[in-house]
Symmetry: C2
Subunit: 144 residues, 2 copies
Amino acid sequence: MSDPESRFQQLITKLKAHDYRLTPQRVALLRLIASSEGHPSATHLYEQIKVQFPTTSPATVYKTLNLLKDLGEVLELGFSNDDNRYDGSRPYPHPHLICVRCRKIMDPQVSHVDDLTQEVAELTGYQVISHRLDFYGLCPDCQQ
Amino acid sequence: MSDPESRFQQLITKLKAHDYRLTPQRVALLRLIASSEGHPSATHLYEQIKVQFPTTSPATVYKTLNLLKDLGEVLELGFSNDDNRYDGSRPYPHPHLICVRCRKIMDPQVSHVDDLTQEVAELTGYQVISHRLDFYGLCPDCQQ
DNA sequence: GTGCTTGCAAACAGTTTGCAGATAG
DNA sequence: CTATCTGCAAACTGTTTGCAAGCAC
């Protein structure tokens, strides 16, 4: 967990190391992703990038997000009913708390979650690769 | 957690109590849902029902599944990349273990998961309504 | 200069919806 | 008898893909 600026530099270095080109659109997306506290959607990121680069297309945003996902630098939270949300600050599995009314997503502190992975692996014989833990509820603002 | 036949009767009773009509297609779906050990998809259920009722449409299956979901009698596992899967035997939040290769889904025993909901609620001030915990990995058969 | 990247538009896939005819109660 | 349900087809939505032009290196 690093500050946005050094996270941004990390991402730049990673892309360079893999011989990906640093286009202005990509750099702008990396900057947003590196400070993505609010778990933004692709559309949300797209709209922020359009301010600086009005010709940017959603496809470019999706392509770059998938690139970063494949590099393990972004965590994608997919929803069957709703847009995917992205976390570029903490690109490893961790719990999320989702307000069902305003759709805000935050990262709660939850103890011993990683122990569960070990427990499941031992109990089932599966090779557990990843996990996802989401809590759904109403945030303080939305409890009226 | 009851046996398929009494679960089936429960579902019948529930629909009757809410004045929903028991059409042959619905009854067939209830029967499948009541014994849904394998977390089937809508398409999978549709194909099984088509054997008995060849004119059934996917729309009917989706409509009935949504009805059961709204009544709290079916748990829907939505995936952004893949078909939704349904659990009519245990229609309450519980952990799932998903093989990323063959897409088989099972229910592992995991200890103290419900304690986490309480922990998150106290820590964040959210009113936590539900949760979802999925583990992704390779089942014994798929580890080759 | 080369070939990766962009931006547009069309395609995609699972699910939902609208509606006319069928049917459970 | 009547309101609900079915089955078909079209619509929907977020994401992906194909391709020609653009540009990073």
